[in-house]
């Protein structure tokens, strides 16, 4: 390709030329600034194409029957039967969306962060704790374990998350949450891996205690030894 043949450049950019043809284009590009500029533009389009997955060009219903369709229809019928029905009245569904949007704005405000409502159709879940959460960090002098505890309020119950370091690999642990009447709930149990022992790890679970009734959060071994405990 000693002279301009731009029509080769599209297939070249898309990597569809035969090796010999591509070499010829390479040789020409080495000497032709104009074609290099053109190729840069075509490459940019190739990058754009990468934003769309190849599956986007499959047509029709899935193969293998319509069980999935039936399940989806059933879910929609059930949702439709529940008031308020989101699509029964456009106005009503809109106002509901606006309420939720308003709620999200309030939460975003409370966290001091910004959630770009409307930028994405399915907003990202925030990693920051819910407003009203309680956070405590404790180190147990005997075991040497440090536990950063976050208790998030839920309706009638709580979500307890702990980040723990200083645990021993192989320890079988239980996360216990005790309410103010002294009743204990297990929020889960696990075994400490080598990595978790070295780098610390995060563990979480739900307990049926309203946030204001949570008394203490503690990690015990299955053998009953207390590892670290904190009052909330």
């Amino acid at each position: 390709m000693s002279e301009h043949d731009r029509t080769q450049l599209g297939a070249y950019a898309l990597g569809a030329l035969e090796p010999g043809e591509a070499e010829a284009v390479d040789e020409h590009l080495a000497t032709c600034e104009e074609c290099r500029a053109e190729l840069a533009e075509l490459n940019e389009m190739k990058d754009f194409l990468g934003e769309v997955p190849p599956e986007a060009f499959l047509e029709g219903p899935p193969e293998g029957g319509d069980l999935l369709l039936q399940r989806t229809l059933r879910e929609v019928r059930e949702l439709e039967a529940e008031p308020p029905v989101p699509v029964a009245a456009k106005r009503r569904s809109r106002s509901r969306w606006l309420l939720v949007a308003a709620a999200l704005v309030v939460v975003a405000g409370a966290l001091g962060g910004g959630i770009a409502i409307g930028r994405s159709t399915a907003p990202e879940a925030s990693n920051a704790p819910t407003a009203g959460s309680k956070q405590v960090t404790t180190t147990d002098t005997a075991s040497g374990a440090t536990m950063a505890t976050t208790v998030e309020p839920r309706t009638g119950w709580s979500w307890v998350q702990v980040h723990v370091s200083g645990l021993k690999a192989g320890d079988q642990c239980v996360l216990l949450v005790t309410d103010k009447t002294g009743k204990s709930w297990t929020a889960g149990s696990w075994v400490v891996s080598e990595k978790a022992a070295k780098n610390g790890s995060t563990f979480a679970g739900g307990v049926l205690i309203p946030l204001d009734q949570v008394g203490t959060v503690e990690i015990r071994t299955v053998q009953g030894q207390q590892v670290v405990k904190t009052a909330i």
Binding site: E18, A56, P62, T72, L104, A196, G205
Partner: protein, 199 residues
């Protein structure tokens, strides 16, 4: 423990960008939920399921993702009437977000807890590509069918010029020139959209 699903459910209700999704020519009235779901399933089901299966690596999980995607589409039906981006692009984007959200939810589940620190969520922030997927799909909708076809063959299916020529029943030289003009046309469409936005 599988709590994150229900707590994040509120997010499902966040308003869609008004006008992000263009109406399909024969989209039924939004209140006809069953017809809407059936239509979306018949037109986009295969594409969605294949995409979700690749992302999750699991057919059963993928089916759940498709189901949730269709339910969301129905919930947003009232708002999905005008605007930019194809319905297909919207559905694929929502499916991807669901997969991402679920991967995050799994990351706080106890059984996998020891590995949490080693496995950051699969993706950090899709909001940029959320826009781009739909913009590019929309642009591909606007170029001619011949141009779209040759890009699908060469780029998305990874065919060589010779293979695409055979597939499309045209000479290799035509595949080459067509792919060049297809990329130019795509650029023109995208440039036109930018001009529209910046006005």
């Amino acid at each position: 423990m599988a709590v994150t699903e229900s707590t994040s459910a509120a997010l499902v209700w966040a308003p869609a960008d008004p006008g992000i999704v263009r109406s399909v020519g024969d989209t039924p009235a939004p209140h006809d939920a069953e017809t809407l779901i059936r239509t979306l399933y018949a037109e986009h089901g295969r594409s969605l399921l294949a995409y979700a299966t690749r992302l999750t690596g699991d057919r059963a999980a993928a089916e759940d993702v498709v189901q949730e995607t269709l339910v969301r589409a129905w919930k947003h039906a009232a708002d999905l009437t005008t605007g930019k981006g194809s319905v297909r692009g919207w559905l694929l984007t929502v499916a991807r977000n669901i997969v991402t959200d679920r991967a995050r939810a799994r990351a706080v589940r106890p059984a996998e807890v020891a590995d949490v620190l080693d496995k950051p969520p699969v993706s950090v922030d899709h909001s940029e590509s959320v826009v781009n997927t739909m913009v590019v799909m929309d642009a591909l909708d606007k170029v001619s069918p011949e141009h779209r076809e040759v890009l699908v063959q060469l780029y998305y299916r990874g065919r060589s010029v010779a293979e695409a020529a055979k597939e499309l029943g045209v000479p290799p030289g035509t595949v080459k020139s067509r792919s060049y003009y297809a990329l130019r046309a795509l650029r023109a469409v995208l440039a036109g959209q930018e001009a529209e936005v910046s006005r």
